[in-house]
């Protein structure tokens, strides 16, 4: 059988909470024995109410957070803690995810330059990346605060794709956007996925968005995966999962 692109096995995460002035410690089980497999080219959605552990899982998958227990595998190989070249992430709040003191060109070209991915001129490279996400290359010299919300979201996507990842994790990447801009970004993600053969892990609390973008949907509740279905069957999910 073909090897999955990414596999997370028996991931658990607990946070230690210090309670009040007495400093009594308690732990919060944010993830409880979660396993997830992603095949190359797949588009998988994670839905669940707020606090169900979606962001925690995303940060563990991309390697920003070492899990309390569990392992990650990349094409069958065990991954050490920490980021991996093939996995990138698009963040919810594009304003905080872009260094306010860096121009767009630096935001996009910095990492590829350091990793030796820029073979010809840097401005050509940046222009190509900007064109790919539907931005005018003239924006290269702007600072993030000089961009609209939709443009910032695109820069965040361009930055992630500039280092040629195979897996793109989007954590509520469109939640803060107006519906028209959200539609543009969803179309863009879909088009990029087709063109680049990206594997997409798309996290959202919005069932409609996930149903639109993903083939397979994972439902989380209280730190566990309670269901994995095809997107078409999502409509029939018990809505009790989203009321508590």
């Amino acid at each position: 059988m073909n090897e999955p692109l990414f596999h997370a096995r028996n991931i658990s995460q607990s946070y230690v909470l210090a309670n009040g002035w007495r400093q009594r410690r308690s732990t919060l089980q944010a993830l409880d024995d979660v396993s997830l497999t992603l095949h190359a080219g797949e588009s998988v959605g994670i839905v669940g109410e707020s606090g169900s552990g979606k962001s925690t899982l995303a940060r563990i998958i991309v390697g920003l957070l070492p899990p309390t227990a569990g392992e990650r595998y990349w094409q069958g190989q065990r991954l050490p803690d920490g980021p991996h070249a093939g996995i990138q992430m698009v963040f919810q709040d594009a304003a905080s995810a872009l260094n306010p003191r860096a121009r767009v060109t630096e935001l996009i070209a910095e990492a590829p330059r350091i990793h030796g991915l820029i073979t010809s001129g840097e401005s050509d490279f940046v222009a190509t990346q900007l064109n790919r996400v539907g931005l005018d290359p003239q924006l290269a010299q702007r600072y993030p605060h000089q961009l609209s919300g939709g443009q910032r979201a695109r820069v965040g996507i361009a930055r992630a794709l500039a280092v040629k990842p195979q897996l793109l994790v989007c954590d509520e990447a469109v939640a803060a956007l107006d519906v028209l801009i959200q539609a543009q970004i969803l179309n863009l993600l879909q088009q990029l996925r087709r063109e680049l053969g990206l594997t997409l892990l798309f996290i959202s609390h919005d069932l409609g968005v996930v149903r639109h973008l993903c083939e397979r949907v994972v439902v989380m509740h209280h730190g566990r995966i309670v269901e994995t279905t095809s997107a078409g069957q999502l409509a029939g999910l018990p809505s009790s999962l989203f009321r508590s």
Binding site: S148, D178, V179, A183, L186, D206, G208, L213
Partner: protein, 322 residues
């Protein structure tokens, strides 16, 4: 008599030489017990409209025209500062950030009791009982304990409930809610919507619900006003407008919602961005992005009635009058 009647509200921002025409001739009315949703992209002028009605505009925001009638009393003649006091007990506003209403250094009890006593001649104990009842009414569990809490000791959803309770505590005739659920997740959002819905049924409160989310408006509002670049471009009963939008912009908003097309196919979007408003573009403000734009659109389209209590600001609406 309408609870609120706004005629040709116009707001400019900045100097008198080249102001931004941020809100242009907005007219609306809300009846007793009615929920009216004001919908539009961010930056379209929804918040400014709400602030102007509440009398909360501060420089550089200036109301340069329009009449605001609250419970039959024309308030436009009064200066902004007096307006605030006159409106205080008939109208209340809640914001996206509950901390815009709540004072971080005061206990919930103090804030609610003082809000009551600032407007009504009620004893301390009676006010406290009222505050307790209000917390219960807005769905706060263990209200007696929460009364003693400071705002930061509450979760985001609970804080917003308290802010709503503080707004409703003097039984206003009109509640202006500026995206109070935008920062909350779907579950909490649904709960807050249900809460407001129940409250207006019980007390006949009129509600102006400001949101950028047509989905929220759909399940909740009686009527919807669609705002674009400072103007109301379409209005009418919620169900009718969403079923058969008349203005091309409303149609675009609806077409962009995932679920409006089969999964996997591209969503309908619009080219470009809303226009700058200092000065506003000539003619129809939607012209540069409109798929139906024609030569006639170089003139500014008037707001016209299309029957069924609907209006549209377009020369070529998608729904023609019967």
């Amino acid at each position: 008599m309408s609870v609120l009647d706004v005629k040709d509200l116009t707001i400019h921002i900045g100097d008198t030489k080249s102001p931004a025409h941020a809100v242009d001739s907005v007219s609306l009315h809300i009846e007793r017990g009615e929920v009216v949703a004001l919908v539009g992209e961010s930056g379209s002028g929804k918040t400014l409209t709400g602030l102007a009605i509440a009398g909360l505009l501060d420089p550089p925001l200036r109301r340069v025209g329009g009449e605001i009638t609250l419970l039959g009393e024309n308030l436009s003649a009064l200066p902004e500062s007096q307006l605030r006091r006159r409106r205080g007990d008939r109208l209340a506003m809640v914001f996206q950030d509950p901390m815009a209403t709540l004072n971080p250094v005061l206990r919930i009890e103090t804030q609610l009791v003082e809000t009551i006593r600032a407007h009504r001649n009620v004893g301390r104990n009676a006010a406290r009982d009222e505050a307790l009842a209000m917390l219960d009414e807005v769905g706060i569990t263990l209200p007696a304990q929460r009364l003693r809490a400071y705002p930061h000791e509450l979760s985001g959803g609970m804080r917003q409930r308290v802010a709503i309770g503080a707004a409703l505590i003097n039984r206003p005739a009109l509640l202006i809610a500026d995206e109070p659920t935008t920062a909350l997740d779907v579950t909490l959002q649904a709960q807050i919507l249900a809460l407001i819905d129940q409250y207006r049924r019980d007390h006949g409160t009129a509600v102006l619900w400001i949101t950028h989310d047509l989905g929220v408006a759909a399940g909740f509002a009686d009527r919807v006003l669609v705002m674009y670049a400072g103007q109301i471009v379409e209005s009418g009963p919620c169900a009718r407008v969403l079923q058969a939008p008349a203005h091309p912009y409303t149609a675009a908003l609806l077409g962009a919602i995932p679920g409006s097309v089969p999964p996997g196919t591209p969503l309908a979007t619009l080219p470009g961005q809303p226009p700058g408003l200092s000065p506003p573009p000539e003619g129809c403000r939607f012209r540069a992005r409109c798929p139906r734009a024609a030569a006639a659109c170089i003139a500014a389209p008037p707001q016209v009635a299309t029957g069924e209590a609907r209006t549209v600001r377009c020369f070529f609406p998608l729904v023609t009058p019967p």
